[in-house]
Symmetry: C2
Subunit: 216 residues, 2 copies
């Protein structure tokens, strides 16, 4: 009975499993590695979750989903304070919710890597990700965007705009090392902030097509 650690074994397993799955992907991580990191016994995974696959699904259900909802909430909260948010505000709120919102750097990295994993190699968690998170988030984003520029943006345009923004959010996180490498030693200062600024300006102009002013 080595278990005098503050957190319960089950929770520690979820934490370590999430970190490892995000870092290496499902198949590259062994149950031994997870239980080793969680400092518990090999058998604990089967006891608490049944098997490795079910552990993975629980990571999504109990760690990833709530966090995704926090991000969505943060996005909506920062919009609720305004009555008729401009497109600029909408895009900025979204970018901030993802890139500097309620998540720590480490959490955000885990979170986005996991979703990229599901996008590129879908498992049983895929449907959850799409239906319970992606679709609602895109729904919010699209309706907010359309409200901000009611004139001549049809549904498909709005969807594609939303996807383009998500593309940058995901990619700027995933390719951070590459971006750093290419930009060279120029950084040191807050690359993160400059990325957000760029993302907001780029996508705002992308959406607006030069037709609306950013109010910048």
């Amino acid at each position: 009975m080595k278990n005098h650690r503050n957190e319960h074994t089950r929770e520690r397993i979820l934490d370590e499993a999430e970190a490892l799955f995000a870092l290496k992907g499902y198949h590259a991580v062994s149950v031994r590695e997870i239980t080793g990191a969680a400092q518990c016994n090999l058998a604990a995974v089967n006891y608490h979750f049944g098997n490795k696959q079910k552990l993975y699904l629980e990571v999504y259900r109990q760690r990833w989903l709530p966090r995704a909802e926090r991000v969505h909430q943060s996005f909506q909260d920062s919009l609720k304070s305004e009555q008729a948010p401009s497109a600029g505000t909408v895009v900025q709120s979204l970018a901030r919710a993802f890139l500097e919102g309620p998540l720590s750097d480490e959490e955000r990295n885990r979170h986005l890597r996991l979703v990229v994993g599901e996008l590129s190699q879908p498992t049983e968690a895929f449907d959850q990700v799409i239906e319970r998170v992606f679709r609602p988030l895109l729904g919010s984003l699209i309706s907010d965007l359309r409200a901000a520029m009611p004139a001549d943006m049809d549904q498909e345009q709005a969807v594609l705009n939303a996807f383009s923004i998500m593309a940058m959010v995901l990619y700027f996180n995933l390719a951070r090392p590459v971006i750093k490498a290419v930009l060279g030693a120029t950084d040191g200062s807050d690359l993160q902030t400059r990325l957000i600024d760029h993302l907001v300006e780029f996508s705002l102009n992308g959406i607006a097509g030069g037709k609306w002013e950013t109010g910048k």
Copy 2:
């Protein structure tokens, strides 16, 4: 000696390995699966490539790299025909090189999935991908963009613009199923073309910041 198939075993293994690695990722594919698909013996992988890891690297060297160079070439060729290409032409050439250029749909899907794999879970192939393909391509793109709008775009801006375009190219391929799901049964017609149009317009506006005209 079952080998009366047109292609040499070594080549068939490379083909099938690439398809499987792209589809499922390195760790999710077994050597048995590869040799099964290539209709050859299990031992053939070790005979021809040494081990699984070296096979994976050969897939990059002998299949992925040349294809990446074809795409880059296609991008540059379509620009060479013009003397002072506008930013719109540059972006459109890039998008077309990737999304409807020299690659078939299947090839393109493989190609982009493999690179996303390396981005999200780097292996020994990562450096090759960055140094021999990514950096040169970004270099071309950046210098073309800066030539097209010499006024006030600094190096970092150009880099971030280039990354934003690449983000959309990669993501629009990866998330194609999601996009289809969200857009619903609206498609049928050529989604591909509409995606390219959107990508070009979005990123052109994103780059130009409303300051340049697209000439559209």
